[in-house]
């Protein structure tokens, strides 16, 4: 394993308790033991935008999600579960089209060779009808689950079209965390960044600071999110926040251009900057290793 790691382009993120591997090598540390407090890993996919059409942005919009599913299925070790962090579908004003896209998305990802797939909404899925269609297909807008010593909290900051969590959900979060031990291993899954990443591009959650204040009371919290269609890492106090790439199209770095717009498809490097990630949870150490994977090998 060490030799394999040495071949990787390894980026250590000082103080984050996270190592990020930028590669596609699939041999991983950790066994397959089901004991609590031992390492396990899961896959995060984000911003699949099923239903999107834009030949200059992604001429393979009908095939990229299917390729991503195949890439996950081809991993050498099966993840414990897969989570989609929002914008499963491209939005539509037409509620029938919205539901058709959700049904098609669900059919495609049903081909994932894993026991458990978790979903959460993005604004494209839930903002126009406050999550009505989403709940018909994928269940609750926010929820928790526990897996091998880690408490996962899926937060909804999109079904309110203003991009807020809201007082009711905030109280729910406080109540949930009160039941947790102080040093509980907590992973928050959400769509939009909880901190003000770049409000000029609406890369924020309107009441995100209130959420972070609640989370700061626990020492072992990591946030995984999507929305910004690129890898990004940030600290708020001791909480680390990690944005995932999109499966469908990439966006520029925050503030790097006068206007936020999808990055054009490069025929010389198809699927560039698209991908998914493995997250290895080292439960005893309360640390996470993120390994980025391309949609197509060799990218």
């Amino acid at each position: 394993m060490n030799n394999l790691l040495n071949r990787r382009d390894l980026l250590k993120l000082a103080g984050m308790g996270v190592a990020v591997f930028v590669s596609g090598t699939t041999v991983r540390a950790g066994g397959s033991s089901q004991k609590e407090n031992e390492s396990f890993y899961f896959v995060q996919l984000s911003d699949t935008h099923w239903g999107f059409s834009g030949p200059n942005i992604n001429p393979d919009s009908q095939g990229t999600l299917k390729k991503a599913v195949a890439a996950v299925n081809a991993l050498d070790e099966r993840p414990d579960f897969v989570v989609f962090t929002g914008d499963l579908t491209q939005t539509s004003d037409d509620s029938r089209i919205r539901r058709d896209r959700m049904a098609e998305f669900r059919d495609i990802v049903s081909q994932l060779n894993v026991k458990t797939v978790r979903f959460m909404p993005g604004e494209h899925d839930a903002s126009l009808d406050r999550g009505e269609a989403y709940q018909e297909f994928f269940g609750d807008l926010h929820y928790t689950f526990d897996h091998r010593g880690v408490h996962f909290i899926s937060l909804d900051n999109v079904s309110d079209p203003s991009g807020s969590v809201g007082d009711k959900q905030l109280l729910w979060l406080q109540s949930d965390l009160k039941q947790m031990k102080k040093d509980a291993r907590i992973v928050v899954l959400t769509h939009r960044p909880l901190f003000d990443l770049y409000p000029e591009w609406d890369w924020a959650t309107r009441d995100g600071s209130a959420v972070i204040d609640v989370l700061l009371q626990h020492p072992n919290v990591t946030v995984l999110y999507g929305h910004i269609h690129q890898e990004h890492h940030h600290m708020t106090g001791h909480i680390s926040h990690h944005a995932a790439k999109s499966v469908m199209w990439a966006l520029p770095q925050p503030g790097s251009l006068p206007r936020k717009a999808p990055i054009s498809w490069d025929p010389a490097e198809p699927y560039r900057d698209l991908g998914f990630r493995n997250v290895e949870a080292k439960v005893a150490e309360a640390q996470y290793e993120i390994e980025e994977f391309p949609i197509v090998r060799g990218q």
Binding site: D93, S162, G163
Partner: protein, 129 residues
């Protein structure tokens, strides 16, 4: 018209037009050179999409929606407002820096929401817009 009748009349007009104000401006505080700009929001654009004002001169933005619920966010000046049909939302501020600033719709409004942006151009007071 006595004073009581005048107040009643003013309240009725306010209720009928649905006018609301963000900030503390009143007619008495308005300067003669105050810049008043009406911005109409609709899917998926602001009209006008570029507004030009002078630094140091108060600006009142009158925001209205032609169709659905939108938002207006001008992050560089820490300004935002809900923009809903049937309501004129007013934001009054004094631009204290010159430059080019982007405003956006920050209430997700559909497929095209991401394109719903505009530009505030603030010129030095000595330059005529």
């Amino acid at each position: 018209m006595n004073m009581k009748r005048l107040i009643t009349y003013t309240m009725m007009v306010g209720a009928l037009t649905g006018i609301s104000m963000v900030g503390r401006s009143t007619a008495r505080e308005m300067r003669t050179d105050e810049q008043v700009v009406r911005i109409t929001a609709s899917t998926f654009q602001f009209q006008p999409s570029t507004i030009t004002v002078k630094k140091g001169v108060p600006v009142t933005l009158e925001l209205v929606s032609e169709d659905r619920h939108h938002g207006f966010k001008l992050a560089d000046f820490h300004l935002r407002a809900e923009v809903k049909p049937g309501v004129v939302e007013r934001i009054r501020f004094v631009p204290d820096k010159a430059g080019k600033f982007t405003f956006i719709c920050d209430v997700f409004c559909g497929d095209g929401h991401e394109d719903m942006t505009g530009t505030l151009l603030v010129l030095e007071d000595s330059i005529r817009p």
